[in-house]
Amino acid sequence: MNHKTLMLVEIAILTTLAFLLDTIPGLQFTIWPQGGSVSFAMIPVFIIAFRWGLKAGLASGLIFGVLDLLFGGTVVHWLQGLLDYIVAFVGLGVAGVFASGIRKGLSNNDHTKVSMLIILGTFIGMAIRFIAHYLAGVIFFAHFAPEDQPVWLYSLVYNSTYLIPGFILSAIIIIMLVISRPQLVVRTS
């Protein structure tokens, strides 16, 4: 089978799964009993990035962002929209630069290396997403909040509350998934 067709279809289907994990009620992970939940939505995007590499990761992120935008996104400024729905999600795919390292580590059974690279990859992806949402938040509040407000602080606090736990949870789950089921990132065909 042509690898490219398989890659396109896998990106499409796994990204749909990512979007649904974010959207279907009740599939999110509650951190505190009072509420505050983190979804596993970014996991499929990272899996695609580690399985097929950088370009596939970026594509998966882009589709995730566009799905999010199409099904009820909020755009109040072109730059905010671009950052919140395109840059933030495409940025997740940057994790794909470690794809070959992770696959090599798995074939050598070097679990420490695999874990380190997964943590590094998810961290970079999440950091880019964080920066994008942060800047979008600053633009948003700068436009719609009165002047002389610490808009950078609002944006920082708001985005940290779900992105930092999201990063930790995603990294842990991906490491466990990849080590127990290497076929998720190592292609057989």
């Binding site: 089978m1 396109l8 959207t23 436009h143 089921r181």
Partner: protein, 265 residues
């Protein structure tokens, strides 16, 4: 399982707005959003509002749907209004609440900023209320075609987008099935210790991933069996058509924009 939360906002109706080419709607919404940001005078806002309201009426979408589309943003609109009301300190004092003075400039500013927000959301939700996600994807693909010359894989991205949209209901069903099957085995990832919950998530994610990869392999095989070999020579099931209605709406929009800049000073 109730799928209504995901079908998106599209409301099927027979209306001139629904009948418009998705490209027309996309281009108009894009420029409408741009123009809204330069609006400064009351009359220019009025022109923008009239256009959006005209669109909303012509779409024959029940006003309740439109209000529902605006729901996530009501809070922000009201908050913005109140914040501006209390923090702006220019102009003359209009009246005071609990000893706190409200200035006339503050009222104007608050009204301007919140109506800008309102118009932006109204117009973008009008697009998603009257256009299916798949037509929006097709429209974006045609509009972005020129970017192919700088090696952006527009066709591939549009293809992935269409597959993704097509598979949303299928995967909802699948996810529902797997999470129910695992729940019947006593798995609960919402309560209990951290460790137990992580284990429970595993029992959900692994079958989901495995079945998603299986589905992808089947689909890729089916596509190749039917001769899929990329963009070249591919035909579409749905075709976008540009009609005289689109031309009329474009002309109307141009008149609106000219009127807008005339009254915007």
């Amino acid at each position: 399982m109730n799928q209504s939360f995901i079908i998106g906002q599209y409301v099927p109706k027979e209306s001139p707005v629904h009948a418009l080419d998705a490209r027309t709607k996309l281009v108009i919404v894009f420029f409408y959003v741009l123009v809204t940001f330069s609006a400064e005078t009351l009359s220019s806002y009025l022109i923008l509002f009239l256009f959006a309201a005209f669109g909303a009426v012509m779409s024959r979408v029940h006003p309740l749907f439109i209000v529902k589309g605006l729901r996530p943003i009501w809070f922000i609109i009201i908050l913005t209004f109140i914040l501006h009301l209390f923090i702006q300190r220019q102009g003359e004092v209009l009246f005071s609440i609990f000893g706190y003075a409200i200035y006339d400039q503050a009222v104007i500013q608050a009204a301007i900023i919140s109506s800008r927000l309102f118009l932006l959301i109204l117009m973008t939700s009008l697009l998603t209320l009257t256009t299916t996600p798949i037509s929006i994807t097709d429209a974006v693909e045609t509009l972005l075609k020129p970017l192919k010359s700088i090696k952006l894989p527009i066709h591939e991205l549009a293809l992935m987008m269409s597959i993704s949209l097509r598979f949303i209901p299928t995967l909802i069903e699948e996810t529902d099935k797997i999470s129910k099957a695992q729940a019947s085995r006593g798995i609960d990832f919402r309560t209990g210790k951290w460790r137990d919950r992580l284990k429970a998530i595993f029992a959900l994610l692994i079958p989901l991933f495995i079945s998603a990869f299986k589905r992808a392999e089947d689909l890729a095989m089916a596509m190749e069996a039917r001769g899929y070999r990329g963009d070249y020579g591919r035909t579409k099931f749905r075709e976008l058509k540009f009609t005289s209605l689109d031309l009329i709406v474009f002309l109307l929009f141009i008149i609106i924009v000219i009127g807008f800049f005339y009254f915007n000073g």
